[in-house]
Symmetry: C2
Subunit: 217 residues, 2 copies
Amino acid sequence: MNFLEERIVKDGVVKEGNVLKVDSFLNHQMDIKLLDQMGAEFKRRFADKPINKILTIEASGIGIACVAAQHFNVPVVFAKKSQSINLDGDMYVAEVESFTHKCINHVIVAQKFLTPADHVLIIDDFLANGCALQGLIQIVQSSGATVEGIGIAIEKGFQSGGRIIRNLGFQLESLAIVDGMNAETGEIWFRDQSKMKKETGETSEGAETVGRSSTLD
Amino acid sequence: MNFLEERIVKDGVVKEGNVLKVDSFLNHQMDIKLLDQMGAEFKRRFADKPINKILTIEASGIGIACVAAQHFNVPVVFAKKSQSINLDGDMYVAEVESFTHKCINHVIVAQKFLTPADHVLIIDDFLANGCALQGLIQIVQSSGATVEGIGIAIEKGFQSGGRIIRNLGFQLESLAIVDGMNAETGEIWFRDQSKMKKETGETSEGAETVGRSSTLD
């Protein structure tokens, strides 16, 4: 297990409906030393990419992105989420379905902060169905900028987001991939990322049979 | 002028209705080196306080708080904003009026992340009427924790928030206090903070006559 997987086992809480609560260290209270370790690991995994900007989405991606940005020495742009659109200047807008809140959100970035000269690393805390992430990718591509990679803290490997994004050819690096959880025993199964090269684009049948509810979005 | 005032003059944009846009470096795109300078300055101003936790509010406070937290070596908790309350576990909730969006928001922090043992520095990007900040103070006090201080990036000195908070006896440190702006000329007037001791609790009549609209929630 890596440092994040160890922390998830130690302080994460598995709830019914495949909910993994990590609010004591990642997305309500934030352990800044852990975020710094995550930033260093993202830098290691994307060391060969000419990244000049990090893009994330409010709210819980912002802390991770800002601490990671210190390792890349680049600015952060965070996309705003809004149910309504109040266009003030020129904005890139993507529609994103929220399964948690059962509504359509708009993901918005001011056009002046993404240009064809930008090489973007997208960072977020969770990846499950991938709707929010697909919205961010769409926005980067609309701007003519390049998606150099995607860094995620925790991927729910039993949902389809990661597979779809990898199948599209993006370098998606998730620091922990949860392939299954048991709310009764509190057990969490992580994907062995040393095998990721051959597993890319696939998840096991066992993982696929696990349900689809999520804390993402 | 200090480093933040200089940056506001260089890259801030004054709009009609006393709106100051700082989205190119502070609250949409974030200059992480600037945030680091701000964190160092907050640490200098609160050096004598036994701070063990930073509290902020989503979304644009999070980046500033996380980078500042590295200077204090403490975790960050961010309060969530919600129009509806979905109580999952025990939460501290404060009602906060949003002048911008003309609605009541709830500011929410899980009770387990604030205890009587906590000595809290509250950090946010903007202070105008102070409603959001009053909600955060109320939450800290509900928990039995101590508010050791409040660190703000930009205070609108012509609105009442700062005066009220200082009159309540809190150590409120705003890195830049804007006492007036002119949307036609783009001019911005900053308060001379070297005179703050005698000005505490007062703003000039001139500043008070400037309008009250704001981008702050």
